[in-house]
């Protein structure tokens, strides 16, 4: 009896770890394979291998020397950084009002903000195109910074509001007793406490802006103004039968490695940021 019980227990443990291994392999393998491919050159590329067989930096060299890829990288960094700074700046004061002051219509306002972040970007595409042309920023990075506010701002407001709601009321009371105005409370009392939240939200907004495709495809038309996702999507060879897979994989690895590194470093914070607001009910 005892022996069979142990056998069952062992089987269960083995099955559990098999599942764990499957999850890890499936998650990591495509990225591993992209790295593998990016390091191959010539005919090696068209031989399927599961382990590294060659090590050539040719593809990486080509990415940086052919076309406008370095420029695209700079565009992406610029657009994503400015978008994040702008969103955080507008969001901090707004989320103070939404989290610490009670006023009529607050819940409705919060729901509206959530709705804006969830609604389909295609629904505003035509109207946004008109506004962007009107402002004269079509085919410039500013068009994208402008457009990205539509998803970064509601998101940052929403997450910062849930973070700020959880700050203890006593701190604020003490500041009020000392005669602090709301502005002073935000900048001198809350800001120092909010750094972790700001880093997390900023990082998530940065990733969203860095990855965005629909607006970038629509509002920029020349190689010099494109961001990285559009550049990678449009990378092609002379004909549809000569897709430069090695170069595409090299470019993909270049734009993904910093993201993966950031995400792994800020793992815990990102997980809490992603789930904040959404799943408290």
């Amino acid at each position: 009896m005892g022996a069979t019980f142990d056998l069952w227990k062992t089987t269960k443990t083995v099955l559990f770890y098999a599942l764990v291994v499957v999850i890890v392999v499936v998650s990591v393998f495509p990225f591993y394979y992209a790295i593998l491919t990016s390091l191959k050159s010539g005919t090696d590329l068209f031989r399927v291998t599961y382990w590294p067989t060659s090590f050539s930096l040719d593809n990486f060299r080509q990415v940086f020397t052919q076309g406008e890829f370095p420029r695209n990288l700079l565009n992406s960094v610029f657009v994503a950084s400015v978008t994040v700074i702008l969103a955080l700046f507008l969001a901090i004061t707004a989320s103070f009002a939404l989290s610490r002051v009670r006023f009529r219509g607050r819940s409705l306002l919060l729901m509206t903000i959530l709705a804006v972040s969830m609604f389909p970007q295609i629904a505003v595409l035509a109207g946004l195109f008109e506004v962007i042309r009107f402002l004269g920023i079509y085919n410039t990075p500013w068009a994208l910074i402008f457009a990205y506010t539509i998803f970064t701002l509601p998101f940052t407001v929403w997450v910062l509001t849930t973070f700020m709601r959880d700050l203890p009321i006593e701190i604020e009371e003490a500041a009020i007793v000392d005669g602090a105005t709301p502005w002073v409370i935000i900048t001198k009392v809350f800001m120092p406490l909010m750094w972790p939240a700001l880093v997390t939200t900023g990082l998530l907004a940065f990733i969203a802006a860095w990855n965005e495709f629909l607006f970038a495809l629509t509002f920029t038309v020349s190689n010099q103004t494109r961001t990285v996702p559009v550049a990678i999507a449009l990378l092609s060879g002379g004909s549809q039968y000569e897709i430069p897979w090695g170069i595409i994989m090299a470019a993909s690895v270049i734009v993904t490695v910093p993201l993966v590194a950031l995400v792994l470093i800020f793992q815990r914070k990102i997980v809490s940021g992603l789930t904040a607001g959404g799943v408290k009910g």
Partner: protein, 326 residues
């Protein structure tokens, strides 16, 4: 307005001082909200209204301001021919549009269905205590961190009919008799899209469900254990009901995201009518085929569908986003 501002302080201060403080805070709150509201009005509210307006006009890409109001003509119009037959035109009579609607709904249903099941499995694994849990959590964040465009291109290389590793693996394991043209063939294009989307977004689902699982007090399970409740029964009677609120929110986030899908399909299966979704069709009409009014009509219809779905879901499912008051 704002009579209960700063209610927690009500007991701490004298009535007069309190009301002044309240007013000051309410004023500050209004001031703090204005920049954000103005920004949202310019980038979201106004463009949305203009897009809807364009759908009732004959606007073209090069002639936005000279557009004339034509009512519901872009949606549906008809013409009685001399022979007496009625011919319908407009988006609602367009088979391409209904094909895109069907593709979008099919995609949204199957992707969220599998993401929920797989996400639940991954979340349950991560909720257990075992050696190497940190590695698993780090690993599942990788698909989430990879840009959609990059994962589309990565997978289209892996799914390549001649040199792809998926075909190679499938044939070595005896699962495939011959190489499959995953992204090019109309029969498998949707499957290919689903595989990539499920791979990429299951981690998000898993993390949201995990957050819900971690809020379930452990002693409930201890009590069930003592009562000898079978683990499977524990899952259906304890875990599932208690994680339901988190699950409902996660599902609606994912459905709304799936209904507007654009990038993955645009890059993985370009020009395939087997996968073309509403967003892709609308974007092409707006900016590539010079059917600006028709594209606006399609994007307005998509917006309407998503709005109706969201309201019904929140209403029927009694979803609580717990946004405002505690």
């Amino acid at each position: 307005m704002a009579t209960d501002a700063l209610a927690p302080l009500a007991t701490a201060n004298a009535p007069k001082a309190k009301s002044e403080l309240m007013l000051q805070r309410a004023r500050a709150a209004r001031l703090f909200l204005i920049p954000m509201l103005v920004a949202l009005a310019i980038v979201a509210g106004w463009p949305l209204l203009r897009s809807i307006y364009f759908s009732f006009t004959d606007a073209t890409l090069n002639n936005l301001y000279g557009a004339e109001w034509i009512g519901f003509g872009n949606y549906l119009r008809w013409q009685v021919l001399e022979s007496g037959t009625v011919r319908y035109r407009g988006v609602l009579a367009d088979p391409d549009w209904w094909n895109a609607v069907w593709n979008t709904v099919r995609f949204a249903f199957w992707s969220v269905f599998w993401e929920t099941i797989l996400g639940m499995i991954v979340a349950l694994v991560l909720n257990a205590e075992f050696k190497g849990r940190g590695i698993v959590r780090a690993a599942i964040l990788i698909p989430w961190a990879i840009p959609t465009i990059v994962s589309a291109r990565m997978w289209s290389w892996m799914l390549n009919d001649q040199f792809g590793i998926i075909n190679d693996l499938g044939m070595k394991l005896g699962l495939l008799a011959a190489p499959v043209a995953w992204t090019a063939s109309a029969d498998t294009a949707m499957t290919a899209v689903l595989i990539v989307d499920i791979w990429k977004t299951t981690p998000f689902m898993a993390l949201l469900i995990l957050a819900g699982l971690q809020m379930i007090p452990r002693d409930i399970y201890e009590a069930a254990e003592i009562d000898g409740v079978h683990p499977v029964k524990q899952f259906f009677r304890i875990t599932l009901p208690l994680v339901r609120p988190a699950l409902m929110v996660a599902i609606i986030f994912r459905v709304l995201d799936a209904l507007r899908i654009f990038d993955l399909i645009y890059v993985l299966t370009p020009n395939s009518s087997a996968t073309k979704t509403m967003s892709v069709l609308a974007q092409e009409n707006l900016f590539q085929f010079n059917n600006f009014a028709e594209g606006s009509t399609q994007s307005t219809l998509l917006f309407l569908m998503i709005a109706i779905f969201t309201v019904l879901y929140i209403w029927i499912g009694k979803v609580n986003f717990d946004g405002g008051d505690r």
